[in-house]
C-alpha cells in the first residue's frame, strides 16, 4: 500500500501567516484536516474529530498521520542569527508530490524554464557533480553542483557561477544550499515542503533562510514565487502523472544523477505515494 510509508512522515500543512484569520481546511494524503491556530500551539483534527500531533518548525505547522512517525529532519541554518526567514505561502499544483521534488533537484532546465534568471543559453552544460546517499542520516545529497546564472538571487548583481548542494531529507522535502553573494562563506538555504494532497495533487510551501539585508520581505517572496510558478506549468504537463520508478520508463542523463538517486531511494524504502511502480 502506497500509504504505509507515507503515513509516518511529517508534512507541512500550514504556515505562520494563514492561521491568523481562522482555521485552515486542507487535505493530507487524502484525509481532510482542519488546522487551527495560533501556529505555535496549533491543533490538527480530522472530520471524525481525531487529533494528530503538530509542531511548529521552519515557520510551518507540521503534522503526521502515522502511529510511528520518523523524526522530523533538522535545518540548522534556519536558527542562525542574521538570516532572513521567508515562508512564501502555498501554491497548489496538480502533479505528483514526487515530481515536484524531482523538479526542484534538477538544474538542466534552468536556461529553458527560468530563462535569464537561473540560466541562459548557450551556457547549458551541466558539469559532473557528486551524488551520494549519506548512510548516517539516510538522505540523498548532491554536492559540487555548479551552474552559471544571470541573476542567481535577489542579492546577486551580475551573473555568477552559483554553487549548489541539494539534500532530500524526506520523500516530499527538498533543500538546496546555494552560493550566498553577500556572504560567500555561508550558504543561502531554499527549501520546498511538499504537502501531498493526493497522489496526483500537492500543496507546495517554499521557504528560505537567507542573508540579504537589502531586499524587502515582499521582494524575496516574489522572487521565489516567480521561480516556482515558472516550474508549475512544467509540473502540470508531465505524463505519466505519477513518478515512474521503473528506470526503463524515462531516460536519465548524467545531469540527472540526483533524480536517479532520488528514485532509487524511493524504491528502496517503498515510498510509493505518488509513484508508478511495476506493482502499482
Amino acid at each position: 500500500m502506497s500509504l504505509d510509508y507515507a503515513k509516518n512522515d511529517w508534512y507541512a500543512v500550514a504556515d505562520i501567516f494563514c492561521l491568523k484569520d481562522g482555521p485552515r481546511q486542507t487535505r493530507l494524503l487524502g484525509t481532510d484536516l482542519t488546522v487551527t491556530g495560533p501556529a505555535d500551539t496549533a491543533t490538527v483534527t480530522d472530520a471524525e474529530g481525531n487529533r494528530y500531533p503538530a509542531q511548529l518548525r521552519f515557520d510551518h505547522v507540521w503534522t503526521t498521520l502515522g502511529d510511528a512517525p520518523r523524526t522530523l529532519f533538522e535545518i540548522p541554518q534556519g536558527d542562525e542569527p542574521g538570516r532572513r526567514r521567508v515562508p512564501c505561502g502555498v501554491v497548489r499544483v496538480r502533479c505528483s508530490p514526487l515530481r515536484a521534488v524531482e523538479n526542484f533537484l534538477d538544474i538542466a532546465h534552468f536556461p529553458f524554464v527560468h530563462t535569464d534568471i537561473l540560466g541562459s543559453e548557450p551556457q547549458t552544460e551541466v558539469r559532473p557533480y557528486n551524488v551520494e546517499i549519506r548512510d548516517e542520516t539516510d538522505e540523498v545529497w548532491a554536492t559540487q553542483v555548479k551552474f552559471f546564472q544571470p541573476q542567481a538571487a535577489r542579492s546577486a548583481g551580475d551573473g555568477i557561477i552559483t554553487e549548489y548542494d541539494y539534500r532530500v531529507p524526506a520523500p516530499t522535502t527538498a533543500v538546496l544550499y546555494k552560493t550566498c553573494p553577500p556572504k560567500p562563506e555561508a550558504q543561502d538555504v531554499i527549501a520546498i515542503f511538499v504537502q501531498p494532497v493526493s497522489e496526483t495533487e500537492c500543496d507546495v510551501w517554499p521557504w528560505m533562510a537567507l542573508y540579504d539585508d537589502e531586499s524587502t520581505f515582499s521582494e524575496m517572496v516574489q522572487f521565489q514565487h516567480e521561480i516556482f510558478v515558472q516550474d508549475r506549468s512544467i509540473l502540470e504537463n508531465q505524463r505519466p502523472v505519477k513518478l515512474p520508478l521503473d528506470p526503463r520508463m524515462e531516460i536519465p542523463m548524467r545531469a540527472d544523477l540526483t533524480s536517479v538517486a532520488y528514485r532509487r531511494w524511493l524504491k528502496k524504502h517503498g515510498a510509493f505515494y505518488g509513484a508508478l511502480t511495476e506493482d502499482a
Binding site: V90, T115, P122, Q222, I227, V229, R232, S233
Partner: protein, 219 residues
C-alpha cells in the same frame, strides 16, 4: 528619471498588463513589491490609503494615482507612445472598439483570472463557476478572432496591436494555470503567438519565452 512607479505583484496578471505595456514602449519604471500573497498587504492601511479599492496594481506618476488597469493602459499609451497607435482614442470608430475590449478584459479578470487564483492559490471563490465563465469568455474571443482570420487581420482593433490586445492577453495566455487549455481555440493560439512575437515582449511565470526566437545553441 523613471516614467512611473508600479505597486506590483509578480504573479498578478493585471500587474503584468502594465509591465508588458511598459516593456513594449521601452519605458523605465520603478517597482514596489507588495506582499499580495501570502501577506495580503494590498489590504493594509497604508495600501488602502493609496487605493481604497485594495487592489493591485497601482500606478503613480507625479500627482497622478491610477488604480484601474484599463486606465493605466490608457495613461501609458496617451503619455508615452509617440506613434499614437497603441490607443487611437480620438478615432471615432477605433477608439470605442478599444474601450469595448478593455471592458471585455475586465470580464476576463473575473472569469479566467479568478479561476486561476482558485486553482493556484486556493482563493476562496467558486472555482467551477469561474471556469464556466472563463470558457464562455474564451469562446467569445475565439469567435471574434476567427472573424479576424476571415478578414485577413491579426489584431483585435484596426490593423496593428493596441492596448485592447495587451489588456486581454494575460488572462487568456494564463488560462492553462486553471486547467483551461487552448486546444479548442486555434485563432486564440495564433493571436497569443502574435503578441508574444512583438518586439519588446516580456514574459511572466506561466507564459514561457519564445525560445525559437533566440539564437540557436551550438550543436
Amino acid at each position: 528619471m523613471t516614467a512611473f512607479t508600479l505597486y506590483n505583484y509578480v504573479l498578478s496578471g493585471n500587474c503584468y498588463k502594465i509591465r508588458l505595456m511598459a516593456s513594449l514602449l521601452g519605458l523605465d519604471y520603478e517597482t514596489i513589491a507588495v506582499n499580495f500573497y501570502p501577506g495580503f498587504e494590498h489590504r493594509s492601511d497604508a495600501m488602502l490609503a493609496l487605493n481604497p479599492a485594495g487592489t493591485l496594481p497601482v500606478l503613480t506618476a507625479g500627482d497622478t494615482v491610477l488604480t484601474d488597469t484599463q486606465a493605466m493602459l490608457g495613461w501609458l499609451a496617451l503619455n508615452h507612445d509617440p506613434s499614437r497607435q497603441w490607443y487611437p482614442a480620438a478615432d471615432p470608430l477605433l477608439g470605442p472598439e478599444v474601450l469595448q475590449w478593455l471592458a471585455f478584459s475586465g470580464r476576463l479578470t473575473n472569469s479566467a483570472g479568478l479561476a486561476r487564483l482558485h486553482a493556484m492559490l486556493n482563493w476562496p471563490v467558486d472555482g467551477e463557476a469561474a471556469r464556466r465563465a472563463a470558457v464562455r469568455d474564451l469562446r467569445e474571443l475565439e469567435l471574434i478572432l476567427t472573424d479576424r482570420v476571415f478578414e485577413g487581420r491579426t489584431w483585435l482593433v484596426g490593423d496593428r496591436p493596441t492596448i485592447a490586445d495587451i489588456a486581454c492577453f494575460p488572462y487568456v495566455a494564463l488560462s492553462p494555470d486553471a486547467g483551461l487549455e487552448h486546444d479548442g481555440y486555434p485563432a486564440i493560439r495564433n493571436w497569443l503567438y502574435a503578441v508574444r512575437s512583438l518586439p519588446g515582449f516580456t514574459t511572466m511565470p506561466g507564459i514561457h519565452e519564445l525560445h525559437e526566437l533566440r539564437e540557436p545553441a551550438d550543436g
